[in-house]
Symmetry: C2
Subunit: 197 residues, 2 copies
DNA sequence: GTCTATAGTCTGATAGAC
DNA sequence: GTCTATCAGACTATAGAC
């Protein structure tokens, strides 16, 4: 999943330090939360000093912002794609399928976003971007003039796939099977909402 | 919602300081996150000193734990109630109705729990309690031998009501209407899961 | 039950040598 | 591009007066 080869070279190649910082930072952010992860910890994992981090990123927040932009790009592309499709049920179903795939590819980032909402919301540079993305996505799925229940159904469809990845750890079973099950439920929900119109 | 009378007396009555600390702490925790809320801020809002906080609570974590226990009690009672009911569809629907009501009553706490999962998970005293509660709740709703999709439907039913309270802010409309809509969707989901057996 | 004062630690961030 | 050394500030928590 991460693109860092761990356990191989001890000091490793030059030129990819920025990438390695991102990898380690995301891993620690997702595991222990943004606030509880200090730059010292990130630096120690990489066997460099804090000052080295500041060469590549202006601030701690900047590291997170770069992750959000780099790993979140597929989602922006998905939103752009959805915006130029006809607003049919088929489009919405395809949006959910692609969303599910995007979620899986960037699982650590989404896990982080899900579990650190309070932090992200307070971060000036990221909070609004995150909100805008979720808003744009839900706008592509729901119809503003549908009944409230059907709108809830559509938004729930989106969030059920988040739950499918993370909060569903309570259910035993293969993660890929659970992902498919969550997608199936999401597709059902949006179909029901469509028929309710 | 909160039980603190704000804006009235400036220094106010003695003896309810513990309660007032809880009120202010929950408000700030929910608003800005646990980590970003310092004891200094809590003390300043109450017009007391940090040391006064330490008279009533052993640590910062202890404040959160007390909130979790005091405000979460209705949920524990709900779980206990559910455990001694027959596992019928009607029971599950009633569980969802009561859960929705409990969620509304303790909205700030649940908002906090939802938005600070990473923090809560790392807090030794609370993380496990929280996990146990959610696990017990989902165990009352889902059937272990049902299809994966139906189990996802049941867990989604629970989480959709969380979303109904917080993540659904993207949808305009009266909060109480949204709560009802979310409950309706949740009841539908658990009914479908029941029929799928 | 609430205060002052402070200990001790860690944080994000900077300056400047190599 | 990475280092050493250091900064000021914030934090939790404690000791002890009143």
């Amino acid at each position: 999943m991460g693109s860092t080869a761990r356990g191989g070279e001890p000091k490793a190649r030059r030129g990819d330090t920025r990438q390695r910082i991102q990898d380690v930072a995301l891993e620690l952010f997702a595991e222990r939360g943004y606030e509880k992860t200090s730059l010292r910890e990130i630096a120690e994992h990489l066997e460099v000093t804090k000052a080295a981090l500041y060469y590549h990123f202006k601030t701690k927040e900047d590291i997170l912002l770069s992750l959000f932009q780099d790993l979140g790009r597929p989602l922006d592309e998905l939103i752009a794609w959805g915006a130029e499709q006809p607003r049919t049920l088929e489009t919405k179903q395809e949006l959910l399928r692609r969303y599910s795939a995007a979620l899986t590819n960037a699982a650590p980032l989404f896990r982080f976003m899900q579990e650190n909402q309070a932090t992200v919301r307070e971060l000036s540079s990221i909070g609004q971007l995150f909100k805008d993305r979720m808003f744009a996505m839900s706008d592509l799925i729901r119809e503003h003039d549908a009944s409230l229940s059907d709108q809830v159904r559509c938004v729930t469809a989106l969030f059920s796939m988040h739950a499918g990845l993370f909060a569903l750890q309570t259910i035993e079973g293969d993660p890929e099977d659970k992902r498919k099950a969550a997608l199936e439920v999401a597709l059902d929900l949006v179909t029901q909402a469509h028929q309710g119109q």
